[in-house]
Amino acid sequence: MLSQRWSNIVFAILILIGAAWFAWVAQGFEAAGLLASSGLPSKFFPQLLLAGMAICAVIVLVVYLVKGAAGKNEDTHVYGSGAAALRGLSTLVAVVAGYFIWRTWGFEVMAVFIGPATLLTMGERNPVIYGIVLALAGGVYLVFTQLLGTQF
């Protein structure tokens, strides 16, 4: 099982790497023409924030390394159970897949896909629920296309 301690340590390290990379990117910000000399440079504020975030990430990192937890009553694991993790993460994958299906084959295919796909990932076996979700998807489609005039 994924522990809160190691997940938070990895997340804090990723924040530190991200902050360093974004701060480096900010070095290349260039203002246009005459406005270039007006006021503070564009990189000032993002780099100030990134420095602050990096300090916070270091504190979080140290706290998790030394104490093992930050804050009170924190769960020791990221997910309640293996099954819960599987449901959550596979639903996430279904949502991302739905986005790419929309980009490739259009909204209608995505609307038909997303309901049954998320039901499958959540472990739903009742066919009535599948019917209800598909009917609701049809309702959403009709409201937007017929009532609000949205063109997909």
Partner: protein, 502 residues
């Protein structure tokens, strides 16, 4: 201060059949979403936000305010009936509400929560109506240094209350502000983190980001426990409104909790849940029989329910007068103003007083109608509570992506929605709060612009930077707020020590 012509226009606006229909629809939708466990006011507002794109300002804002108000009350129904709070604001109601329900007095518990919610809501709207215009006349004199001070105050207070870990809260607040630096620099036109995409020239869009952060992350978390079954006694779902004798006995509690809710609502970040717990513990502290709290007594239901609904009017005071949201739900509400081309702040009172008074009058009407619609809604609540999460998850997901696409006609914005949802999901799973992230994202632009303008005005002088009496007052209030936690802990431990010595 009170423009009679604007008040007259507000009455005309609310008499419009479409506006009235939106008001009723908002109450119904808010109740439905509030009753469904897990979906709170920010999500309710976020889901309705895309529809307001097609409406005039008054009906759209009245719709969202009705949803906001009703969703907070709706959360108490599932809290009382099944012990699962529909919203975070109803967590404190579970203790006595559910205990009373289990004792066979479900009707009485639901009646008390409905009455408390409406009285709390009405008193807070009264405060909003009188305080907001006064504050707006003061705030109109604010310059960059004052706005910088108020934005820092708002953000730090949110971070302080958002979670047990200060460093985690600050990290999220900083991340929210950092994300607003993407796009063209407003002051000198420099491209920042656009990665060659013209979509990012105007920065990360506010509405898809907030909808993703609240709604998408919530349904992903909901998907994990989608197969959990809810069981409860449906026969007790009948409302029994308290009589005058009971109300008279509870009048002190109602007044105190209303004021606590309104004041806590005004403080940025101190949301409805904090107000509900504060009012509950205050009534318990004042009670001659504190041991009865938690066993199912009227005071234990009225206090949190009155206070949590009173935060609505309170949270709108800084939102409307300063453009600083008083709660995550108010942050999403700010998005609705921006969709309508309105910028909440002191100038809005000057430019569109008719809209402001329409909102105040609308809130009065919402609270009154909530009584009648709430009575009917409770009869159908049993069916709503039993709606499985497996139906809610795909429907909310589809509504979110479709709504965002309908507003912008842009798949990029749908990508932002899903990206924000993924970000919200990851950070929530790791024990971070998304409240500082959302408030930081709303306040980011104000913070950067006011900081840069303040530094330019100060021209390198620290004394000139702080040469603002209002700003200094706000910084002093901020320091007091930060120090209050340790001081109160010290006082408690000192008092506890005295009791033990005695």
């Amino acid at each position: 201060m009170f423009d009679l012509a604007a008040i007259g226009t507000a009455f005309v606006n609310l008499a419009d059949p479409f506006t009235f229909l939106m008001l009723v629809l908002g109450i119904v939708l808010g109740l439905v979403i509030g009753i469904l466990p897990g979906l709170g006011p920010p999500i309710a507002i976020a889901l309705a936000l895309p529809f307001t794109f097609y409406m005039e300002p008054v009906p759209s804002l009245v719709l969202l305010l009705a949803i906001y108000n009703a969703a907070i009350y709706g959360g108490s129904i599932s809290a009382v009936a099944v012990g699962i709070p529909g919203t975070g604001a109803a967590i404190a109601t579970v203790m006595d509400g559910n205990a009373m329900f289990k004792n066979g007095r479900g009707g009485e518990a639901l009646g008390l929560s409905l009455t408390g919610s409406i009285i709390g809501g009405l008193i807070s709207v009264l405060c909003l109506t009188f305080i907001a215009p006064v504050l707006a006349t003061v705030a109109i004199k604010f310059g960059p240094r004052e706005f910088l001070a108020i934005s820092i105050f708002g953000l730090v207070v949110v971070v302080r209350v958002a979670g047990a870990s200060l460093s985690k809260g600050l990290l999220m607040g900083g991340l929210g502000i950092f994300l607003t630096t993407w796009g063209l620099d407003e002051l000198n036109g420099a491209e920042r983190y656009t990665f060659g995409s013209y979509h990012l020239y105007e920065g990360i869009p506010l509405v898809p980001f907030l909808v993703g952060l609240f709604a998408v992350s919530e349904v992903l978390i909901g998907a994990e426990k989608a197969l959990d079954k809810v069981r409860f006694d449906q026969t007790s779902l009948r409302v029994n409104l308290p009589g005058m004798k009971t109300l008279s006995r509870l009048k002190g509690n109602l007044m105190r909790s209303s004021l606590i809710g309104t004041i806590i609502g005004i403080i940025p970040g101190e949301g409805a849940a904090v107000a509900a717990f504060f009012a509950y513990s205050e009534e318990k502290r004042r009670s001659k029989t504190p041991e009865k709290f938690g066993t199912g007594i009227p005071d234990g239901i009225v206090a949190p329910e009155t206070a949590n609904n009173a935060t609505v009017g309170g949270a709108l005071i800084p939102t409307l007068t300063l453009g600083v949201p008083g709660s995550p739900a108010a942050a999403v509400l700010l998005g609705a103003f921006l969709i309508q081309g309105l910028a909440p702040g002191p100038t809005l009172f000057d430019e569109r007083p008719d809209i402001m008074f329409s909102l105040f009058l609308g809130l009065f009407l919402i609270n009154i109608l909530l009584l009648f619609i709430g009575l009917v809604a409770i009869r159908f609540a049993a069916k709503l509570i039993l709606v499985p999460m497996t139906v809610i998850v795909p429907t909310v997901l589809l509504l979110s992506v479709t709504g965002i696409y309908a507003v912008s006609n842009s798949l990029f914005n749908v990508g932002v929605l899903l990206g924000a949802g993924l970000l919200g999901y990851v950070v929530r799973k790791l024990g971070y709060s998304i409240a500082p992230l959302s408030i930081g994202f709303v306040l980011g632009h104000i913070l950067e612009n006011s900081l840069r303008q303040s530094i330019t005005i100060a021209d390198g002088s620290v004394a000139e930077f702080f040469n603002t009496p209002i700003g200094l007052g706000i910084y002093a209030a901020l320091i007091l707020t930060i120090l209050w936690g340790p001081i109160s802990d010290w006082l408690k431990s000192r008092n506890a020590g005295k009791v033990e010595d005695a």
